[in-house]
Symmetry: C2
């Protein structure tokens, strides 16, 4: 009487696309731009390439409101064998690793492509030259939704005369530029703040001027390294998977090889502490043994904290320079906190505060949110940073009385940003992260208070 069936991952995200930010043409245009831009930037700064990005939106059918969105980069490119899957299979990608990247779901590009397919029927066009290759590969791809497989509409290869590398992705979607444009301009501007080592050119669809952000830093930050999981983030299923993919012959070698922050000596001491033979074979572990090992790993206090070379923060200098150039404030200060961790994932919180000058006065703090260098522009009220900035911090105690010209920038970078949804717009309330954001804001707010009090005293002296 009930009709049972399964869905492919492509069917699921096609049917529930509003969950990924594709809820209407205006939001979809914004989301398409950002998914392609985030892929382009990852392809560059994960590989120590100074990014040069071209972003173009072209109105191709004014009656149906169809736009062609093109993003071009000088990144590492995509190996031709993987192009159909990277752009034609939902839940496929190269960012399922423990390393700070903008991408993490293996979904973003495909959502834009699916939305193009269902609104305009057009395939995505991908051109790519992988680093070191002398060929340019052209693909036209659609997603077979029922099977979650790529459909290659067309593919060509061309030999190049001069060496180059990078990727261009074009999707044609139904959009709404008039409703989306403020958010698109703001997203690109804030991306330029977060990536001052990138050249970004943006060509909008109406006859508005081309926007160019030239790089202001010629040195690329060291790319995040891939790390192994930290024992404090382990669970029963993760441990089972690590055991089945490990070739270690002893339990202590298994721990030292599979986890970060565990050396052979620590592994031996830990295992003896919880009553295991360090030289037993991992395959001999029973279900109860696995459970005991998981509890032990999560609770052991003497593992080193999570490594932070998997992270790439913005840095205080960059935050101050960015806020200064965009806002022209009277006061700017920033802090990059020491690394912390939640569930075995390292994270760093950075906060900047700008005050006065050309900042307009508002009834509430103006919050600029970033996560793994991505600007977050929607769902502000659902974000943990907003909860802290509006409800937890007592601004009066720092000399700020609303209405006030106050901007707060908050950046979280992590090997796993705890987004509330696959549309990547707001951050969930993880206790360790909440605590760090609060302390970071207080740290910078104290500097603001010093400045405000000093200014008031000078004001009073001047009156006498």
């Amino acid at each position: 009487r009930e009709a049972f069936r399964s869905l492919s991952a492509a069917e699921f995200f096609y049917r529930n696309r509003e969950i990924a930010g594709f809820s209407n043409p205006s939001r979809a245009l914004y989301q398409t731009v950002r998914e392609l831009v985030e892929n382009a930037l990852d392809a560059c700064d994960s590989h120590e390439i100074l990014p040069s990005l071209y972003i173009g939106i072209k109105l191709v059918d004014p009656i149906k409101s169809f736009y062609k969105v093109t993003v071009s980069d000088n990144g590492i490119g995509v190996p031709p064998y993987y192009v159909p899957y990277a752009f034609g299979q939902v839940l496929f990608g190269s960012k399922y690793k423990l390393r700070q990247t903008r991408g993490m779901f293996g979904l973003g590009a495909k959502m834009a492509i699916l939305y193009g397919q269902l609104t305009t029927g057009k395939p995505v066009e991908v051109e790519t030259t992988p680093l070191g290759s002398r060929y340019k590969y052209y693909f036209k791809i659609m997603v077979d939704i029922k099977r979650n497989e790529p459909i290659i509409i067309e593919q060509r290869v061309r030999k190049l005369k001069k060496k180059t590398h990078g990727t261009t992705v074009s999707v044609t979607i139904e959009g709404d530029w008039s409703r989306a444009k403020n958010k698109v301009y703001e997203y690109i501007k804030r991306t330029a703040i977060a990536t001052p080592y990138a050249n970004i050119t943006f060509v909008p669809p109406d006859n508005s001027e081309v926007i160019v952000y030239k790089r202001v830093i010629d040195k690329i930050p060291p790319p995040p390294k891939e790390v192994k999981p930290h024992p404090h983030g382990v669970d029963i299923e993760m441990l089972k998977m690590l055991i089945s993919s490990s070739e270690a012959s002893t339990l202590k070698e298994f721990l030292a090889e599979s986890f970060q922050s565990i050396g052979l000596i620590t592994a031996e001491r830990f295992l003896r502490d919880i009553g295991f033979d360090p030289n037993m074979s991992p395959e001999k572990l029973t279900t109860e043994g696995i459970k005991a090992l998981v509890s032990g790993l999560k609770e052991y206090k003497d593992f080193k904290p999570p490594r932070t070379d998997a992270l790439s923060p913005l840095g205080e200098e960059l935050i101050v320079a960015g806020l200064r150039s965009v806002l022209e404030p009277e006061f700017v200060a920033a802090t990059t906190r020491r690394p912390s961790a939640y569930s075995g994932h390292p994270f760093i919180i950075e906060v900047g505060i700008a005050y006065g000058g050309k900042i307009p006065s508002k009834d509430e703090p103006q919050l600029y949110r970033f996560a793994n260098k991505i600007p977050l522009l929607y769902d502000e009220k659902a974000d943990v940073s907003w909860k802290i900035v509006s409800n937890v911090i007592d601004w009066k105690a720092y000399g700020v009385e609303f209405p006030a010209p106050l901007v707060v920038l908050a950046h979280i970078c992590s090997t796993k940003v705890p987004y509330k949804g696959v549309g990547k717009e707001s951050i969930a309330e993880v206790p360790e992260i909440e605590k760090e954001i609060k302390n970071a804001i207080r740290e910078v707010a104290r500097k603001l208070r010093t400045y405000i009090l000093k200014k008031r005293r000078e004001e009073e002296l001047r009156k006498k």
Copy 2:
């Protein structure tokens, strides 16, 4: 240099479980209860069975904080062939239809089961007797995460002496009752308000008293019917899928059979209007023909509006009775709006307002949200209803000055509730829905104003 791979749907939701509400033990305990309760209620009221539910939470390991959550119902049961998939395969279920149900993703039960697996290593236990069967089937199931397939740990059958039907599901998870209990009690209480035709017994884990909600209505509302899609909700991919699964030999028959609100005569007239031969074979449509048909279907004004026998609203009587019994207010009024639609999905907005009496005074309106009869308790500030209640409605104009004892109940029912996330906690900003919620609140707020003004006049007369 980048390592490409795909994830199964089970791997994806295991890795990103906070997106489904499984972010920490307290939230996971709440989400586990609600996913099982929502399945139990669907199994009853979709099939005209007056629900009798048992909900039990048992502390099975105080040191590790493990709880066994059991939900038992007298619903339609699950055919034994499908039990392993229904409980062991992510994106598998019976609610992928155009009909109002609480479930819609084919994910909820599996998320609770995955969370149990990864925190306690224990399988889910399912007992079920399908309606009309003389057997009780027992299963112990786990999810093979890498393959997204069920693992049947154990299965047994027993012949029953007397006829019965229903399902019992038990998962053992790491939880946090002290942090979750307020929300769990509130969820069950509000569920009882929304389903006054259900008997609900709740046995909490500490030695607190057993909570019993006895049914106050002995008549079950007519269950929602399954309907075909409405032409205004069509897209290119949907039309292609409908064509490939249709056996109709003419285009007009294809439209009349595949869509609601299109009869053969309307189909013929519509097709001639947009320049198609009504008698051509659907298989002969070109890609351009499909696109033209999609535009035509979306824009044609003369199709009947979406059918509403796919919906089952609460009703004004029920809302008033529920608010009265729970809040003991001075004033209560409610409205069930006429059906509306977004993207071809019919929806109904219902609003209730309660004021004064035993309602405590607060600085803001107190909002009770429901969607397809499910109470929504998290992410209030991200919900479209909150946006309207706190920012759009001018309460002063209705005689309400804060702090005030004001409760607003908002219910949306639809063949597709536009949730913001798979955790089903807040509703996205769909323009048609926003407009309806606003008008529904205004309609009931006008009755509140009449009451408040009348009371003030009486007060003034009494003073003289």
